[in-house]
């Protein structure tokens, strides 16, 4: 971490209250005192497990995209595979990445590398989203959708990623961040 970003003088918080518990996150409020101020006000946090997504590249230099319905926007979105890290332990994000890739696409890959992580949205979420690069991806398994998943696979030459972000085809912030980690890894 740079610029002297010490994690001192954090804003004190107390009276944690779980307001709602959904399958994706808990909505929690605290009474927070901005540092050096003498008042408190309620702040809200969405407590969530980590997320993970996968930049999967085939031997033909295609990237594996998926198309699925997203309830937040009430639209179909074009993304990369990924999901919630349900596993525990140090390797959990990688194990989860491999599982999500198989479940959502039936693809596996021999070579995996962590590209980095971004915070889900540190204003309101308490979690991180990990991005893995999977090289040599190919279709080896059957898909295994959750009861409320219905995913279509789209293979695209990887050289088109920049164009697809620029023209808004891929607009999910977590996926744009993930692809940005990939582009930084590849191009610079």
């Amino acid at each position: 971490m740079e610029f002297g970003n010490p994690q001192e003088n954090l804003w004190p918080r107390k009276n944690r209250r779980v307001l709602n518990d959904t399958p994706i996150f808990k909505l929690v409020s605290h009474d927070v005192s901005p540092f050096g101020k003498d008042f408190t006000k309620p702040f809200y946090v969405l407590e969530s497990k980590s997320w993970v997504n996968v930049v999967a590249i085939t031997d033909k230099d295609e990237i594996l995209l998926i198309r699925q319905y997203r309830h937040g926007l009430h639209e179909y979105c074009i993304e990369i595979p990924g999901g919630i890290v349900d596993e525990e332990g140090e390797d959990a994000p990688l194990v989860s990445a491999k599982r999500e890739l198989i479940e959502e696409t039936g693809y596996t890959a021999p070579e995996w590398k962590l590209l980095g992580k971004v915070s889900g949205n540190p204003a309101v979420f308490n979690n991180y989203s990990y991005t893995y690069l999977a090289l040599g991806a190919s279709k080896t398994d059957n898909v295994d959708f959750d009861e409320a998943e219905d995913i279509e696979i789209i293979l695209v030459p990887k050289d088109r990623i920049i164009e697809l972000i620029r023209n808004g085809t891929i607009h999910h912030s977590m996926m744009v961040s993930a692809l940005s980690l990939y582009l930084i890894h590849e191009k610079f």
Copy 2:
């Protein structure tokens, strides 16, 4: 939009219920029927106004970063200026971008350009985050923090953006997405 991503066969939803109303979002649930399935289950959406952020570049080719406490992660984070689009109307994101830049940093700029937008997180949020490029930024005004804001300004050569994403100094997904739109605009 590419790949035949028609917005047909959206999953029907009914019985909208506001479960909580916070200053940043409403937590809402619907009964949703996955397309072609004969069951419903509750899905959750965080209804929020649009967000906006600003890639502000000075005449010395520095980018304007800010450091502030973020309740979600309970940490100080290094970001670019931005906030919630409180204004109404077609120009609202731009008006809001200019207002946030002044309030948070005291900087203004003569030249503005929309770099693009990303969806906040279409799995759970219903909103978009707009990114503006502000060129020729300079300190002309006093800051005007909200009662629970305390923001430190950091000027960094813009050529260091990639390094700061790669080493995790800037990790907020909305900011990484915004800077990715900027890098795509500048480099490609």
